[in-house]
């Protein structure tokens, strides 16, 4: 047991460092480890590797807000943290924003730990009940996502059709973004330009192009000047705020973790709407809780006896080597999550201070340019020139919300649209219309 926990701690420490590299997803790292295991032979027993992965994903889920807040390079699960994060940064409170996400993350881990006694009875029952209804639930999420966006016109045109169209431009841009990213998703699903040998990285260039590159370009073009950051001793949040943020975040995160296809971004979106209050602190806490519950909870489902759900890339990869069946392994996994969660929180504090030192010494424009270079190198290095092409197309789509003021969330169409259409049985037909199945 001690060795297993040690592997988890090492995983968390490794992830704490890797999380600082913008756009380097921990699933990509896990993919390399699995590949190395397959190629070089088993150098770590699978059960210890599982614990290592568990530590890695916990560390990653806690620390991956740092590039989102300080470098504006989010993945889909941290996309919503960027805006309030930048607001805090401009108010010299970037450290506080990172700590608030960490506090939310700790809350999320507490929720996962509290669910342990009921997990093996509750989640299998839940799965049985909703299994036949997954397709319409997914379509319902999409419908809400699209219908809940409000128009953003200036209302300066004359009252009537002209004013209506002025307001609807942003909504139309949102719908186009969803549709175009959905079409890109179809292409990636049926005929990706990413080489087959790295097929598990298929979505990486699209996600970087849709979510990270537009933010960075916007920062470069708008010449963001960061004031010196203040390291606060305390955070401005009450226990009630913490409870509300955690609870809403945990609900969104659990939904995203439990449902196939639904990712952390959707979880964050639901968490944000469930809190539905104009309070940045509450929102940031909920986002911290949501992404930890999504990543860690999703992986923990793999360990729940009687459920054995493979959600997320890490669980899929691990399932090719090892499976967990006993309650003891599950309890050990929960203990590892709690331990590594606490360690990761302190690593978050440390790493945030390091990044603040960096941001204080190098002009933010250079940091943004450097981040952009790192992103592109990761795309080319991992997925080749085909990946770079996908990234370029995705960036074009990701810039539509930036230019028209619509939701960046609509870029999630890259996953939602093809999968939802496939679940409804129409995916093949539409892929045929697009000439992707010949």
């Amino acid at each position: 047991m001690g060795i297993s926990l040690l592997f988890a701690v090492v995983g968390a420490l490794v992830a704490s460092l890797l999380s600082l590299v913008p756009a380097l997803h921990i699933y990509n790292v896990a993919g390399f480890i699995i590949l190395a295991t397959a190629t070089l032979g088993e150098f770590v027993p699978p059960e210890q590797l599982a614990m290592f992965f568990l530590g890695m994903i916990t560390g990653y889920a806690m620390l991956n807000t740092i590039p989102s807040i300080f470098l504006a390079a989010p993945d889909d699960s941290t996309i919503f943290v960027v805006l309030p994060g930048q607001k805090y940064l401009l108010q010299r409170r970037g450290y506080e924003a990172a700590v608030l996400t960490g506090i939310g993350g700790l809350g999320g881990i507490a929720v996962l730990a509290l669910l342990t006694p009921v997990a093996s009875s509750f989640f299998p029952t839940l799965r049985t009940i909703i299994q036949p209804h997954l397709h319409w639930i997914l379509w319902t999420v999409i419908a809400y996502m699209l219908i809940s966006e409000w128009p953003k016109g200036s209302d300066r045109a004359p009252a009537g059709i002209a004013r209506w169209w002025d307001g609807w431009k942003s909504l139309t841009a949102g719908l186009i973004t969803f549709l175009l990213s959905g079409l890109l998703g179809f292409i990636l699903l049926y005929r990706s330009l990413v080489p087959v040998t790295v097929a598990y990285q298929n979505l990486l260039p699209a996600f970087i192009g849709l979510f990270a590159v537009p933010w960075i370009l916007q920062n470069i073009l708008s010449r963001v000047e960061l004031p010196p950051q203040y390291i606060a001793e305390t955070v401005d949040a009450t226990p009630w705020l913490f409870l509300r943020g955690t609870f809403a975040g945990a609900l969104g995160g659990l939904f995203a973790a439990f449902f196939p296809v639904v990712t952390g971004g959707i979880g964050g979106f639901i968490a944000g709407h469930a809190t539905a209050q104009r309070d940045d602190r509450l929102f940031i806490i909920s986002q911290g809780a949501s992404k930890v519950v999504y990543y860690v909870g999703g992986f923990l489902f793999f360990f729940v006896p009687g459920l054995h759900l493979t959600r997320g890339g890490m669980a899929w990869m691990l399932s090719s080597l090892w499976s967990s069946y006993t309650p003891q392994t599950y309890y050990l996994a929960v203990a590892a999550v709690v331990l590594t969660g606490v360690i990761s929180f302190f690593m978050l504090l440390l790493m945030t201070r390091l990044v603040i030192t960096l941001v204080g010494k190098v002009h933010y424009r250079w940091i943004s340019l450097g981040t952009l270079v790192v992103l592109l190198l990761i795309v080319v290095g991992m997925t080749g020139w085909g990946g770079l092409l996908i990234c370029a197309v995705a960036t074009g789509i990701g810039l539509i919300p930036v230019l028209w003021g619509s939701r960046r969330m609509n870029c999630m169409g890259v996953l939602l649209l093809p999968i939802a259409l496939n679940m409804a049985g129409w995916g093949g037909t539409i892929a045929g219309w697009m000439g992707l199945t010949q």
């Binding site: 029952t125 319902t140 004013r163 209506w164 539905a276």
Partner: protein, 332 residues
Amino acid sequence: MKGIAHFITGVAIATFFPEVVHRAAEGSLLPMLGGIAGILPDTLDFKFARYFERYDEEIDPGPEPDAREIAERVVAAMRRAYETGKPQNIMLHTIRLGADLWRQYVIRFDPQAGEVAVRIGPVVNTGQTPLPGSEPEGAEEVRVKVGVPLVHTYDAENRIDIFSGPSFKFVRKGDKLHVHFLDWHRRWSHSLTLAAVVGVGAGLLFGKWAGIVAGLGFAGHVLEDQLGFMGSNLFYPFTKGRVIGLQLLRSGDAIPNFLTVWTAVALMLFNLDRFSAQPLLNPWWFLGLAVVLPVVTLGGLYQWQRRRRKPETKESLQQRDIVSETEEVEIG
């Protein structure tokens, strides 16, 4: 209530019909239709009706805003409404300074002092983040006396910064002037008559169950809003005014919104289970733990919170209801 509460209520209502649940399990999207109908009344207002509203005056402060001029123009419209008895509908425009820059300003009605207060604020970006040091020098709140009796209305600050600004309607009732915030909201769209029309329309287009689901989803929204203070024009076009709400909750409060979302999800799960071939949940345990317990505890907490609040006039609470609905958090 917030959009997500209405939407999920519409979905939950749809699952109360075994036929709908069975069809959904076979590939139908009927519950989704319930959700769409559930959010439709606000969609009609916020995405359509507001754009067709005519204003007697549109105040555009321009790139060099003058707080006194804004306040005086608002007060002039208020006096006009009082003196002529003809309601005055005004809109305040935002101040755009660049692609991502806006000048913020704040307007507040102070019924206690009978004044309108305006203050010019900092430059903000589209994320509503103020740029440090952008407050205009010597910017103080300018107050202008209205000079006519004002009903004790919602007196919090109305911050005007990005995209579009707010609108106000000034109406004389008896010897007092009333301030209606966003008068176009819930004027005709939140009507049970319209719910019936939507139901019949959906029924004719997509069949009986679609009609039932859409009509009830729409009606669910109207009835939920009726729990608050403002109420709605329930039988438009047969009635003209809003029926005052039951005053059980404030539509923007966190607990009622969250409780609605939670209860709707719990009931949806319960319905999906009981209409399945082999129900797994013990109804008493499930309803007790997932519905009754949260309603009692959170409902009790909410009542306790309400008692501790500073008392507000009914008029103020009604206008707050409207304003808080427009304060949807824009995520993403």
